[in-house]
Amino acid sequence: MSTTIPGMRGQAFSLSSVLVLPFRILMGLLNAPMSAVQRRFGIGGVGAVFLAPNMLIFSIFVLIPVAINAAYSLTGGTAIFFDGRYFAGLDQYRTLLSCNDYTTPSTCLQDAFWQSVHNTAFFVIVQVTVLVLASLGTALVLNREMRARGFWRSVFFFPVLLSPVVVGLIWKWILQRDGLLNALLLNFGFERTLWLAERNWAMFWAVFVSVWAHLGFYALILLAGLQAIPRDLYEAAMMDGTGRLRTFWRITLPLLWPNLLVVIILALIRAVQVFDEAFVLTGGGPGTSTMFMTQYIYETGFAHVLRNLGLASAASILMGVVLVGLTALQLVVSNRRARKEAA
């Protein structure tokens, strides 16, 4: 682009050179310190220097709190600061992990913790399965030529923009005793159902609302993947007379797999951390049937009159181990995939 700036006589300034000028000045200023850094740390060390500010912030807000949390899990007492707490060793972990039968929460010393572990495991398996299938189905539909495609895409994406608390409240208004759903049912002559006070219904709605709220995000990732698949592959399949289902299995699914994998892992990590929408919607009830691990940690550490920060920290460390496992799985799978593709 070489637009001549009006009013500049005798000099032919282009717009691009004007825009680049400040950048050049900045780079000129940085030149001396960068050379000094390079001389001091070598070329390899420059990367570390650039990384340092980020690592500093990451350490302050993530690494150090995690370390403090781990330290708290080895202490007991009700004081908030370390100086008022006693060293408990692994007692908090023992308290959490002492069970006669791990499949029956009532046989565990911390039965509420194990109930929350069971609920979380159930939620993760069901919610992730439903979420991935629903996101895939939605992405496939939204990828087709249809009228007002942009509008439909935004409809599915809209819940993602809402705060989880708002999502929980909206659905609570719909599902409570005098909510919208019961009003509709009564209007059509059906019985009133306590959607949030029946064990199975409460879990169903916890899963449903979570899927409703997050589907748009995952569908968007899959939609991007679908649009990256070359059209000519489908045209070739069509010319060969391949059926729709076979095209899906043989072309779409294999080529979409990297995106699908990202979706599965992200959904898994998010499902393990389930808290906000479910807490607002069901409060963990009825009984403890939708109480998840994060709620147990919150209740133990903050909601009880005498805070048990040691036990809450130990529970969060155990949950962290699960999350680290899932993240490691994601890394292994993506690395393997990358290596395969490179080969």
Partner: protein, 423 residues
């Protein structure tokens, strides 16, 4: 020349007043509101500032959650506001300032609030850390219109819990309303009825001894009332752990015959129900041992870490004075904790007859509360007891546990808490 003189004088006055304003000592109050009490406090504070220009009072209005969750951390760190309004008064007592040396008339202050001072000071201490801004008491609120329409007489004084449950059921059946009897999901709410049934709660060694026959008698009733549809499952069984749940909306919508909650509901019910139906507080239902609600309330306490205790004491003494407490109670529709004000009666500023009647009944209930109910307010282990009771009975109501299991778990939960806190 005259103009120049006036200008100079004006500038001098302005400068002096600015200097005076700068010199004013700032006292910060951390305050949360349930109703209009924040606005009333602002009015009262303005008057104080007019009388005491050397003290500036800043009221930081915050959510109740901030006081509940953030204040303890600030206090543990040796910081915090100068004065704070709190519900949880006993367990952080070591952080409260003893105003006694700074008060002009400590004896009057002590005499005015002597019934409730133990709620906010460490056991055995005679400190004067603050005063209760209002008293509350748990008790039943009745939709009297529904009772009238059902031609069921409202049970009178000394009526038993069983009589109340039966009457509520009759009304609900007759009027086709979904909830006969609702209880707030709260261990504190449960404890008054349990004491009525004879629960002793505190063992001879001062440690919690919760599950006895009296306790079981009330727990059994709660379970039975849920089984036979007198109480709605979604309140006690609807959420997990210690989560609070009330039936305010249902009562306001005319779907509850009897709602066991407390005096703090009166102001908001008056605003929301208007003249849709008549309602009223009623005398506490009885068990074989007592007819009692659980007293409580919010207190205004001075924080030990203030850098100007003298000024804090002056603000506290003003807010705790008889005329100020009277005005605060009359305008906020709260029951006064000031014994002088309570004894002379309060002319609550309302045109709603339901409010006048209800507050009168609740005020009487505060004066006839069982000694154990009063003691529970200053008992160190009340919090863990309430938490264990509500979470375990909630599981029974939801069908997750049998009562016998719940009893064992309640004992275990409390033991764990006591042992953790005692080390």
């Amino acid at each position: 020349m005259k103009g120049l003189k006036s200008l100079t004088c004006g500038a001098l006055v302005l400068a002096l007043s600015a200097a005076a304003a700068q010199a004013a000592t700032e006292v910060r109050i951390m305050w949360y509101s349930d109703g209009n009490e924040g606005e009333v406090l602002q009015d009262l504070v303005k008057r104080f500032e007019a009388q005491n220009p050397e003290i500036k009072v800043v009221v930081d209005n915050v959510a109740f959650g901030v006081v509940k969750e953030q204040l303890p951390v600030q206090l543990e760190a040796g910081r915090g506001p100068d004065i704070v309004r709190v519900v949880e008064l006993k367990s952080p007592a070591k952080h409260w300032l003893d105003l006694r040396p700074y008060l002009k008339d400590a004896a009057t202050f002590e005499k005015s609030f002597s019934n409730t001072l133990d709620w906010m000071r460490e056991d055995g201490s005679n400190a004067l850390p603050g005063f209760m801004t209002q008293l509350t008491i748990t008790g039943p609120l009745v939709n009297t219109t529904l009772f009238e329409q059902a031609s069921v007489p409202v049970p009178g004084e000394k009526a038993t819990w069983d009589e109340w449950a039966a009457a509520a059921k009759k009304v609900a059946d007759s009027q086709k309303i979904p909830i006969a009897l609702a209880f707030d999901r709260s261990g504190h709410r449960f404890m008054g009825p349990a004491i009525s049934m004879g629960a002793k709660i505190i063992g001879s060694d001062g440690k919690p001894a919760v599950v006895d026959d009296g306790f079981k008698a009330m727990a059994q009733r709660i379970a039975d009332w849920h089984k036979n549809g007198i109480m709605p499952r979604e309140i006690w069984g609807g959420v997990a752990g210690t989560t609070y749940k009330g039936a305010n909306d249902e009562f306001v919508n005319g779907q509850v015959a009897v709602y066991f909650s407390g005096s703090w509901q009166v102001a908001q019910f008056s605003q929301k129900i208007k003249d849709n139906f008549d309602w009223s507080a009623v005398p506490e239902p009885c068990g074989p041992a007592a007819c009692t609600g659980m007293p409580g309330g919010a207190g205004l306490v001075a924080v030990k870490y203030t850098t100007h205790p003298q000024e804090v004491a002056r603000v506290m003494e003003y807010l705790a004075s008889e005329p100020v407490v009277r005005e605060f109670s009359e305008r906020t529709l709260f029951l006064p904790a000031h014994q002088g004000v309570a004894a002379k009666g309060v002319d609550f500023k309302t045109s709603d007859p339901n409010v006048k009647k209800s507050l009168g009944i609740f005020l009487k209930a505060t004066q006839t509360a069982d000694p154990l109910a009063l003691k529970m307010q200053s008992y160190r282990w009340s919090g863990p007891i309430y938490a264990a009771v509500v979470s375990r009975l909630g599981q029974v109501v939801a069908g997750e546990a049998q009562l016998s299991d719940a009893y064992a778990r309640i004992e275990d939960d409390i033991k764990q808490k006591v042992s953790e806190a005692s080390r």
